[in-house]
Symmetry: C2
Subunit: 197 residues, 2 copies
DNA sequence: TGGGTAAGTTACTGAATAATAACATACGGG
DNA sequence: CCCGTATGTTATTATTCAGTAACTTACCCA
């Protein structure tokens, strides 16, 4: 009685998704088999298919879950001036990546994108939304006079996005062996000098 | 006689490597099977193994080949002033990626890195060399007074590298659907305003 | 409290894929 | 010109993997 042998579907589904996210960062998204996933959870491999009709659906659920998590991580947007906001949004993004290294792992996985169009779309729209948000902040900075007038806010936003992505990639390839946040803050400060009036 | 049915080993080996590079960009490095490779070349699948003891060795040869190609692509270094040189090196790099899209594909393939340590090292040292080169150019720019004195040349070099990588990734994920060179030049120009004295 | 169902099990299948074995022949050097 | 070997071939294997089939039982609720 104390040792529960089964779990309700909703709970088990969430467990599968969370475990997939956790393990994707370790073994790589495409090398994560249903067998490994099941073993980590402590159930048999076919039990996975009680909860998802196919492996593809697990990845779609992972995409949705990461969307939710990422949305939450940016809910609080405290600072007032655009420059501080920009720093804040980049910092939050890097912190999220540090806590959820599966994100760059999945993002960099060309195979997953090739195989799973819905997942690709989820991440593409995540990136587009992020770009729009940053671009908007830059535009605010221009109008309040902290950024120079002839700055293209879309270009600036791409540079910032690229900074996040490039840094995440270097961090990922170097086995996560430096302080992502510290490095990000320093480089962003330098980056923003290109924007200033 | 006109239709040669066999090729000398050296030629066939090179053909296998070149075809692997070509196809890695299309189907993704990890989805490239020996069967697909052989079919593209026009030989049987086991024929591949006359020339390479295992698939891993093909990827190592690919790494070496890309090293060579990339080295060649940067041999001519015409401009004199550091700023133009920086532009030139970035442009050359982007042009190379445009011509050899397998490079970002392989670079972003976490699976390959996980499975093939020698290949990971090849690419890591390629990136390190590129960083050193850019950092050196920035340092020259500082000493000749076009870049500001308090600029950290390593940080600046990371920003430039990150620009290349991030751009390559966006280009790769967006199915190579914009002008990599034009976008790169424009963003680099903006980026460099952060470096100027 | 007992019965139906949801959540699990073991045993299995078929497809994909790297690699091997055994056999065949093109072709270059003596 | 012809022989040996380098470069192929077809047939086959072992493994890994997603997914299915058939059966089992824990747990909830009437």
């Amino acid at each position: 009685m104390s040792t529960r042998t089964r779990k309700p579907a909703s709970e088990r589904k969430a467990e599968i998704v969370d475990t997939a996210i956790k393990m994707a960062a370790i073994v790589g998204p495409d090398r994560l088999t249903t067998e490994k996933l099941a073993r980590e959870i402590g159930i048999s491999q076919p039990a996975i298919f009680r909860h998802f009709p196919s492996k593809t659906n697990i990845w779609e659920a992972v995409g949705e879950r990461i969307c939710t998590l990422m949305g939450e991580s940016l809910r609080q947007d405290i600072p007032n001036d655009p420059q501080a906001r920009l720093t804040h949004i980049v910092t939050a993004q890097l912190a999220f990546i540090q806590k959820t290294p599966a994100v760059p792992a999945i993002l960099f996985s060309r195979e997953l994108h090739a195989e799973n169009e819905p997942l690709r779309k989820v991440f593409a729209s995540l990136m587009a939304a992020r770009h729009a948000r940053i671009s908007e902040l830059v535009a605010q900075g221009i109008s309040t006079g902290v950024f120079k007038e002839n700055l293209d806010s879309d270009d600036a936003a791409y540079l910032v996005l690229t900074l996040i992505q490039g840094l995440a990639m270097r961090w990922s390839l170097n086995k996560q062996n430096f302080d992502l946040l510290a490095e990000g803050k320093r480089l962003l400060a330098l980056q923003m000098t290109a924007f200033k009036a």
